[in-house]
C-alpha cells in the first residue's frame, strides 16, 4: 500500500476476489513470518527437538509393521517392502492430517491476531500447509535414505516428490478454506475433524495397499483423492502403486472445485467471523 492509493473499506459483500488476491500477495512476507514462527516454536524446549519430525512416522511405521505384517499377516504385494510402503503413506498422511487439523483450528487459534490486526485472513490457513511441509520433506528425505538402506528400488521420479507435497498442500488448503471459518463460528466442527480423519485413514491405502480392495469396487476406491495423494508419493519415490489417471483427474478437479467454493465460503464468512469468533 503506498500513499498514492486510496483504499476503500466497504461492507464485506462488496469486495472482489481479485482485490483479495492482490491483498494476499501484498502481505506475502507475513506468511513467511507466521510460518517461521510455527516451525521454530514447534520443537523448542523439547529434548528430542527436530528428531521428533522423524520419530513420528518411524514409530508409527514400526507399529503398523508389527500389527499388520506380523499379527495380521496381510498378503505380500510382491516385491514391495511393507515398511517402505507404510512409511511413504504415513509421511503424506501425517502431513495431510496436520494441515486439516491445525488449519481447521487456525482461525480460532489466531483469534487474538484476527481481532486486533488487519491483514487478509486468507493468509492464516496457509501457515499450517507451509510449516507442515517442512516436516514432510524431511520425512521424504529419510524415506529416500531408508529405501537405499533396504536395498529397494528408488525411482528417478523421486525428484518430483516436492510437487506431490505441494499438491497435497493445495488440496489441504482448499479443504481448510471451508473448515476454518465454519469452525470459528460452529465449534463442534473441531470435534468432527479428528473423527473424520480417523475414518478417512481406514478408507485410504495408508496401512494397506489398494490391491487388497475387492476388484469390483476398487475403481471407486481409487478415485478417493486421499488414495491418489498417498499413492502418488509412493509412485514417485518407489515406483509402485501408481494411481490411475482417472484418479489423478478427479484429484485435480476436486482441488479446483474445493478452491473455488472454499474461497467463496471463506470470503463470505470473513466479514462477520471477526465479530463471532
Amino acid at each position: 500500500m503506498n500513499s498514492a492509493t486510496v483504499k476503500i473499506i466497504k461492507p464485506h459483500s462488496e469486495r472482489s476476489l481479485a482485490e483479495d488476491i492482490a491483498n494476499v500477495w501484498a502481505h506475502r512476507e507475513l506468511v513467511t513470518v507466521l510460518a517461521r514462527r510455527e516451525i521454530s516454536v514447534r520443537y523448542r524446549q523439547t529434548v528430542v527437538g527436530l528428531l521428533w519430525v522423524l520419530l513420528q512416522p518411524l514409530i508409527t511405521t514400526a507399529i503398523f509393521t508389527v500389527v499388520f505384517v506380523v499379527f495380521l499377516r496381510i498378503p505380500d504385494q510382491g516385491g514391495e517392502s511393507y515398511p517402505l510402503f507404510a512409511f511413504s503413506g504415513i509421511a503424506v498422511w501425517q502431513y495431510f492430517t496436520r494441515i486439516v487439523t491445525d488449519g481447521g483450528n487456525s482461525l480460532v487459534t489466531n483469534s487474538n491476531l484476527i481481532t486486533k490486526v488487519s491483514f487478509p485472513r486468507l493468509i492464516i490457513p496457509m501457515v499450517s500447509p507451509i510449516a507442515a511441509s517442512v516436516d514432510c520433506l524431511i520425512s521424504i528425505m529419510a524415506l529416500v535414505v531408508l529405501t537405499a538402506a533396504f536395498g529397494a528400488h528408488l525411482s528417478w521420479t523421486v525428484i518430483f516428490a516436492p510437487f506431490v507435497v505441494f499438491a497435497v498442500g493445495l488440496f489441504g488448503y482448499a479443504i481448510v478454506l471451508y473448515l476454518a471459518p465454519l469452525n470459528a463460528v460452529y465449534r463442534d466442527i473441531s470435534i468432527v475433524i479428528p473423527f473424520a480423519v480417523q475414518i478417512a485413514m481406514y478408507l485410504s491405502p495408508i496401512v494397506y495397499p489398494s490391491s487388497l480392495v475387492p476388484e469390483n469396487i476398487r475403481w471407486l476406491y481409487e478415485l478417493n483423492p486421499v488414495a491418489v495423494m498417498v499413492n502418488s508419493m509412493r509412485w514417485v519415490v518407489l515406483g509402485t502403486n501408481a494411481p490411475p489417471l482417472a484418479g489423478v483427474g478427479v484429484f485435480v478437479v476436486a482441488t479446483v472445485l474445493l478452491f473455488w467454493g472454499g474461497t467463496h465460503v471463506f470470503r463470505n464468512m470473513e466479514g462477520t467471523l471477526v465479530d463471532r469468533i
Binding site: 500500500m1 476503500i8 461492507p11 487474538n112 491476531l113 465460503v265 463470505n268 464468512m269
Partner: protein, 430 residues
C-alpha cells in the same frame, strides 16, 4: 489534497445474546450452510435476537492529513468499533471508509508475541504483523531495543519477562512504525508513569512529524496535550466534532459527572446529615444578594459558600468548611471556618448557625467545580468527609476572567488569578 480518512455514513450492527445456540447443532446449521455456500449467508442469523444492537449509527467525519484526533466517549459508545472499522479489522454494516495512506494500528500492545520466542524474534514477528518489512525492522532494530530499555534481556524468551518489560518492548515496536495514519486504542493505559510519559512523548513526536493520528483515550489530559481535534461518540452516534479541545473535555466531564444542577442541597432534598454535634440544614452557593446560584457565573461575580446548621453540642475541635475539586478530580483548595480564628468552634452557640465565606473572585479558572461540605473533629475523625456526603454543589465559571483584551480564551492552569504587576516599581493601574 485528499483527506486522510473519510468516514461516510458508517453503521455497525451486532446481534446480542446467544444467537447461535440452536445453530451450533449440525442439523440446524446445515440449511444455513447451504445458503452460505451460495454466498447469501452473511447476515442470515437465527431469529433468536430480533433486535440488533447498533454499535455505530450513521457516523460520518472527515479527517485531514496532519490532524491529531482524540476520540472520546463512555465505555460502549462505539469508539473501539469505529477504530476497528477504520483499521479494516471488521467491516461496516453500512457506509464506507476511504483511507488515503498507509495505516498502522495499535489496538493492543504485544499482539502476536509468542511466549516461547526471544525478545529479538518477537520484535521481528510483531513488526511484521504490524506491517513493517523485514528490512525496515533490521534498520530500526537498535532504536527499538534502546527505546524499550530491555537490551540486556533481548535474547531471553518472552515468557520470562515481567509484564512491564513485555509492555515496553511491545510498545517500542509499535512506536517505530511509520505509517502515514496511526491509529491507537487506549494503549497508554498500561505501564508505569515514567513509561507513559515516554509514550506520550513519542506520540507527540509522531504527531509533530505531520502524520495523521487517531487516538482513543479516557485520559483527557493526554488528549488535551496531544490533540488538535476531538470527536465525541455517545451510544454509537457522533455527538461532537470540534477543534476546541477544552470544549470537548468539559462536555465529557459534564456527561460523566451527572451531578445536580442546583447550587443548593438542603436536608429536605437530601438525606439528613446529623451527628451528636450538629444537624446540617443546607449547603449552598449564593451571590451577593443571597440568592442561590444555579447556572454558570463569570469569574468576577462574588460567590459565597453558605452553611446553615443546627448546633446541638459544641466541641473545641469541631471543624466545618468545604473543599473544591475541579473536573479532573484535583483538589483545588480546602477552607475551614477556623483558618483565621481557631477559637471559633468554642464560640458556637446552641441552635441555628449560619456560616458564610466568600469564594475569591477572579481566582478559579474557567470550568466546572464541585464544592463539598466537610466537617471533622481535628485529629479525631471525619464527621462529613468531602465528596462522601450528598452535600455537594457544582459551580460553573465561565467568562469574566479579566478585563484585558488579551485574556479572552481559556488559559491553562488550575487557577486563574488576576495578579498585580509593577513596571519600574510603579504599580500598574487598571
Amino acid at each position: 489534497m485528499a483527506a486522510a480518512i473519510e468516514v461516510l455514513g458508517v453503521s455497525k450492527k451486532y446481534f446480542r445474546g446467544v444467537h447461535l445456540t440452536h445453530t451450533t447443532l449440525l442439523s440446524g446449521a446445515i440449511s444455513q450452510w447451504g445458503k452460505r455456500l451460495l454466498g447469501k449467508g452473511d447476515d442470515d442469523y437465527s431469529p433468536v435476537d430480533q433486535e440488533p444492537f447498533w454499535a455505530l449509527q450513521d457516523v460520518s467525519l472527515t479527517i485531514e492529513r496532519g490532524d491529531v484526533v482524540g476520540i472520546v466517549g463512555r465505555n460502549g459508545s462505539g469508539k473501539s468499533t469505529l477504530l476497528k472499522i477504520i483499521s479494516q479489522i471488521t467491516a461496516p454494516s453500512t457506509g464506507e471508509v476511504r483511507l488515503n495512506g498507509r495505516t498502522g494500528t495499535l489496538l493492543e500492545v504485544g499482539t502476536g508475541f509468542h511466549a516461547e520466542l526471544s525478545g529479538r524474534e518477537n520484535v521481528y514477528l510483531n513488526g511484521a504483523i504490524l506491517g513493517m518489512t523485514r528490512s525496515e525492522i533490521d534498520r530500526k532494530f537498535d532504536e527499538i531495543v534502546d527505546f524499550s530499555g530491555i537490551e540486556a534481556f533481548i535474547d531471553t524468551p518472552v515468557k520470562r519477562y515481567s509484564s512491564g518489560m513485555h509492555t515496553r518492548l511491545a510498545f517500542s515496536v509499535a512506536a517505530h512504525l511509520e505509517p502515514e495514519i496511526l491509529i491507537i486504542d487506549e494503549v497508554l493505559a498500561v505501564g508505569d508513569a515514567e513509561f507513559q510519559k515516554k509514550c506520550i512523548g513519542k506520540m507527540d513526536q509522531v504527531a509533530k512529524g505531520g502524520r495523521t493520528v487517531l487516538f482513543v483515550s479516557h485520559n483527557m489530559s493526554a488528549v488535551e496535550q496531544l490533540c488538535n481535534r476531538a470527536v465525541w461518540l455517545d451510544s454509537g452516534k457522533l455527538v461532537l466534532d470540534t477543534r476546541d479541545i477544552y470544549e470537548a473535555a468539559t462536555q465529557y466531564f459534564q456527561s460523566s459527572a451527572g451531578s445536580a444542577e442546583s447550587g443548593e442541597v438542603t436536608s429536605k432534598s437530601a438525606p439528613p446529615l446529623e451527628n451528636e454535634f450538629f444537624s446540617l440544614k443546607s449547603f449552598r452557593l449564593c451571590n451577593a444578594a443571597g440568592e442561590t446560584i444555579n447556572g454558570p457565573v463569570p469569574a468576577n461575580l462574588p460567590v459565597s459558600v453558605e452553611i446553615r446548621l443546627d448546633v446541638k453540642k459544641t466541641h473545641s475541635s469541631l471543624l466545618l468548611g468545604y473543599s473544591v475539586a475541579n473536573e479532573t478530580g484535583d483538589q483545588v483548595y480546602w477552607s475551614m471556618f477556623s483558618d483565621q480564628d481557631d477559637t471559633i468552634a468554642s464560640r458556637l452557640k446552641m441552635g441555628e448557625a449560619i456560616l458564610t465565606s466568600p469564594v475569591p473572585p477572579r481566582f478559579l479558572n474557567q470550568g466546572r467545580y464541585n464544592f463539598h461540605f466537610l466537617s471533622s473533629l481535628y485529629n479525631m475523625g471525619w464527621l462529613a468527609a468531602p465528596g462522601q456526603t450528598p452535600y455537594s454543589v457544582p459551580l460553573r465559571i465561565e467568562g469574566g476572567m479579566s478585563d484585558s483584551m488579551f485574556w479572552r480564551q481559556h488559559r491553562p492552569g488550575v487557577v486563574a488569578p488576576v495578579l498585580p504587576w509593577t513596571l519600574d516599581n510603579v504599580p500598574l493601574e487598571p
